[in-house]
């Protein structure tokens, strides 16, 4: 049985534990006096081992606990471990942390509490409330809030290095060789004479030893994998239809359920299920909170049956009609509802007074996440345990909520995280698991798979926030002299955390994210956040507050720059005081050959937004085709510190551009009679292949911190499109979706 090695200078420590037939390496997280919600069910001083590497006689498993919704998280995590462990990615299996029963049956060590699959899978970037608290601590620093990636960046390589050195020590013990004479390559220790010992042959010995924690991470110049083009670990499965997702999961004896809860997100007054109960294959009709579920022997039969139930729904707890939602935002620009004013440079009021003020108002709608895989969960509840199989980004909340619902202890709830067919923030909510649990509790012992119909997934979506902004500005001598932006929206963090029963005190930084912290040196510069009342439920949608604010902030800046008669690129560069940010503008200017003659009916817009600590500049080029806009080309430059896999990086950035522009063109969720009016992809379209522009991507590596790129390409994209449309047509589009004002090809 391994023990924790000597404590290094690090804040975390790699440990090891014996598992059936082998050894696991990971890091210990300790409960500290400071409250940490990630470790709530540990007693003070207790520790949990989160394994990253498991080796037994049958093979090497890299455990990649951060959830993968398509962004390549498993791949990137595996590559970081493999870099130091000296294994090839095709030699290992990658496991998202599906709990192995061996862990539960093995007391890891005197110091460690039982293994939990969810400690790290919870992932700091899934909890915007915590993110915001962190950002408050970090104050005005330009580095921003996303510390998750840099954290993994070191932690996973360290786990790989400790495992490698411990395996070398095991080889030395087995052979009598000197550790200094041993090398490692392709999952084996190379002995001085040239013979090899596979890691799998050393695992049992390694499990009896103290892990070697005295390791130094390799210099980036020696990396074999990180920073190089790699084949994603899941690409073969995803190219052959063999990848399994949450919705594909099956377990012996499972029944299928589908649910309808209030389309007005309120109460259910009553229902009549007579017709549904006699339909073929229907096993039962049961109630869940604010709704009803049909349980059948097949997914389609369950969906048919639940749709055949006649339900009387209560009223919505928010305004029934969309106009009232906009009115609530419009009414929020007042001192009482002021939430924050973290940016207030110069004397905006004095400059605005008596000057020729340029004013504009902007709007961004509610948006569904609508990942292509509808949400689903399989839940089995017995007297002594509950198992949950689902694609989720918040396994720790899931565990807590299932424990609460069932009355079981958290350590009797086992959350098995499955591959997700997209998320974009959708799977930061866990209603599908709660409802599946409610059904499963009414049929104890039977595994219940709850699958949402696409329509239910759309209606019940906790959408992106609705938002409105008002800008006032002054230009002087060809320059932007004053910039005053007010933004009103409901608090995403309060809505999202409220569903988890967590209060979030203080200002919500997401109300001004993507606006207040922009590295622009405008002499008189103010950004004010106004908190609108809670309206329809809202949640984190790819890039959260910045998804609306990046549009508002940069389009208004563009309007002022045009009013000043300056060049949109040059004036942004002049205003930008932050060197790594300005370099992103310089890069897109160079990539797009900014300023070159485009020919007739074309226009280009540039936009910049720093979000999640990543400065991102984008240029969009459009053509006016007989009054309809065609998006031809997009250039993106982002400062990410280090690109871990250039192919995955390019694909993700291109996809994020398609995402942002598609929604900006044609997508919104609106309410009428208290219900979302949209139901499916026919009225929530996004972008189609024929509309997709050519997209050129460059990742800059001028910073010293590696950062995540899942979101930062989104905020500037709609702004660059609006700015390009203005350049091509002279028409300024200040509202999304833009097809309310202009046609697209």
């Amino acid at each position: 049985m391994g023990r924790i090695g000597k404590i290094a200078r690090r804040t975390f420590l790699v440990g090891s534990a014996a598992v059936v037939g082998g050894v696991a390496f990971g890091y210990y997280a300790y409960k500290r006096p400071v409250s940490n919600p990630l470790l709530n069910d540990l007693a003070e001083g207790e520790a949990a081992l989160t394994p990253y590497v498991k080796i037994d006689s049958t093979g090497i498993t890299l455990i990649t606990p951060r959830a993968d919704s398509g962004q390549g998280a498993y791949h990137v995590q595996a590559a970081l471990i493999a870099e130091e462990l000296d294994v090839e990615l095709d030699q290992v299996s990658v496991d998202p942390g599906m709990p192995d029963p061996a862990y539960y049956n093995t007391a890891l060590s005197a110091e460690a509490a039982p293994f939990r699959s969810t400690d790290d899978g919870f992932a700091a970037d899934t909890t915007r409330g915590i993110m915001d608290a962190m950002m408050k601590f970090m104050g005005m620093q330009i580095t921003g809030g996303s510390t998750t990636v840099p954290d993994s960046f070191e932690k996973l390589r360290l786990a790989g290095a400790v495992a490698r050195e411990t395996l070398k020590a095991a080889a030395a013990q087995q052979t009598g060789a000197n550790v200094a004479d041993l090398k490692t390559e392709k999952g084996a220790v190379i002995l001085p004479g040239g013979g090899t010992l596979a890691y799998t042959e050393l695992a049992a010995t390694a499990a009896t030893m103290d892990p070697v924690n005295d390791v130094v991470l390799r210099d980036p110049s020696t990396w074999r994998l990180v920073g190089k083009e790699m084949e994603r670990v899941d690409i073969l499965a995803k190219s052959t239809g063999t990848q399994r997702y949450g919705i594909d999961f099956e377990v012996e004896g499972m029944v299928h359920a589908s649910v309808r809860t209030s389309p007005r997100r309120g109460m259910m007054n009553g229902f009549d299920a007579e017709a549904a109960r006699v339909m073929r294959g229907v096993i039962d009709v049961v109630q869940v909170t604010d709704g009803v579920a049909a349980v059948a022997d097949n997914t389609w039969r369950a969906i048919q049956a639940v749709n055949a139930i006649d339900v009387d729904w209560g009223p919505a707890p928010y305004p029934a009609e969309q106009d009232a939602h906009w009115q609530a935002l419009s009414d929020s620009f007042n001192a009482d509802q002021q939430d924050s004013r973290f940016r207030d440079d110069g004397d905006v009021d004095a400059v605005l007074e008596g000057a020729e003020v340029i004013e504009a108002e902007y709007r961004a709608p509610y948006l569904a996440h609508a990942p292509l895989e509808p949400i689903s969960a399989v839940v089995q509840v017995t007297e002594t345990r509950a198992d949950v199989w689902t694609g989720t980004q918040i396994p720790r909340f899931v565990q807590t909520n299932v424990a609460k619902l069932t009355g079981l202890n958290a350590d009797q709830v086992f959350v098995h995280v499955l591959m997700m067919g997209g998320s974009f923030g959708h799977r930061l909510e866990d209603r599908v698991v709660r409802e599946a649990t409610e059904i499963a509790m009414q049929m104890k012992g039977t595994p219940v798979k709850l699958t949402y119909s696409r329509e239910e997934d759309t209606i019940q979506n906790d959408t992106r926030q609705i938002a409105m902004a008002r800008g006032r500005g002054v230009v002087k001598d060809g320059k932007v002299e004053a910039y005053d932006l007010g933004i009103a929206m409901p608090s995403v963090v309060a809505s999202q955390m409220g569903r988890q029963g967590l209060p979030v005190p203080g200002p919500d930084l997401q109300i001004v994210a993507g606006a207040w912290e922009q590295p622009m040196q405008i002499p008189n510069y103010r950004v004010t956040g106004y908190r609108a009342p809670e309206l329809a439920p809202v949640s984190s949608w790819r890039s959260v507050g910045a998804s609306t604010n990046g549009f508002f902030h940069d389009v208004f800046l563009d309007e002022l720059i045009h009013a000043a008669g300056a060049d949109p690129m040059e004036e942004r560069m002049r205003l930008c005081w932050h060197d790594p940010s300005r370099k992103t503008l310089e890069a897109v200017a160079e990539m797009s050959n900014w300023g070159s003659d485009l020919g007739p009916n074309k226009g280009r817009g540039v936009a910049f937004c720093m979000s999640f600590g990543v400065p991102t500049a984008e240029v969009v080029e459009v053509t006016d085709v007989d009054g309809a806009i065609k998006i031809d080309k997009v250039w993106v430059a982002a400062e990410v510190g280090r690109v871990i896999d250039p192919i995955n990086f390019e694909n993700m950035v291109q996809g994020g551009i398609v995402w942002a522009l598609g929604h900006a063109m044609n997508s919104e969720i609106t309410y009428s009679d208290g219900m979302a009016e949209q139901r499916n992809y026919y009225d929530f379209e996004g972008m189609r292949l024929s509309q997709a522009p050519e997209i050129f991507v460059r990742g800059l590596e001028n910073g010293d911190t590696v950062r995540g790129m899942g979101e930062p390409m989104v905020p500037p994209a709609a702004a660059a499109l609006s700015n390009a449309i203005f350049a091509a047509t002279g028409r300024r589009v200040r509202e999304m979706p833009m097809n309310k004002h202009i046609d697209f090809v």
């Binding site: 292509l372 696409r454 292949l689």
Partner: protein, 152 residues
């Protein structure tokens, strides 16, 4: 009723109007075919019937007129179809959920039109939604697959 899927004949006892999608997924446990929208708006459920790309969510079980091929029948990890090889080569997938349908649609296009133009690709692939936005890679992979098939 009888259904031939990927060369194997199955006897299934289902309603006439059960969509082929659910017969494949829930009755025959063929999971490569995906449910995305249920109303022929996304293409995730695309399969071939006698070589023609169809939306299995809108094809009633009783109306299946020929042999069904799913992504599992197009090729396997050990013996991939040219389209699948191109999808690996270009590393098209992000979440990958739509890609079975995309590949089935692309394979059908190339069977009919071995050298599609950009406009042909746009027309053929426009009904297949990708929420991750992998369209640039899908375009490139279709072209690579066309070349592979022509060389074969």
């Amino acid at each position: 009723m009888k259904l031939t899927v990927n060369g194997t004949e199955h006897e299934v006892d289902v309603e006439d109007d059960m969509p082929l999608l659910w017969v494949l997924r829930d009755e025959l446990n063929i999971k490569g075919v995906k449910y995305g929208c249920g109303v022929a708006q996304c293409g995730a459920c695309t399969v071939h019937i006698d070589g023609e790309a169809v939306r299995s969510c809108q094809t009633a079980a009783a109306d299946v007129w020929g042999d069904v091929t799913t992504i599992e029948g197009l090729g396997t990890p050990d013996a991939m179809h040219a389209v699948q090889q191109a999808w690996v080569e270009h590393q098209v997938a992000q979440c990958g959920y739509c890609q079975s349908g995309q590949m089935m649609q692309a394979a059908s296009l190339l069977a009919i039109n071995p050298a599609p133009t950009d406009a042909d690709i746009d027309d053929a692939m426009n009904g297949n939604l990708c929420r991750c936005g992998t369209y640039p890679r899908i375009r490139a992979a279709v072209k690579t697959a066309a070349t592979k098939l022509q060389e074969a």
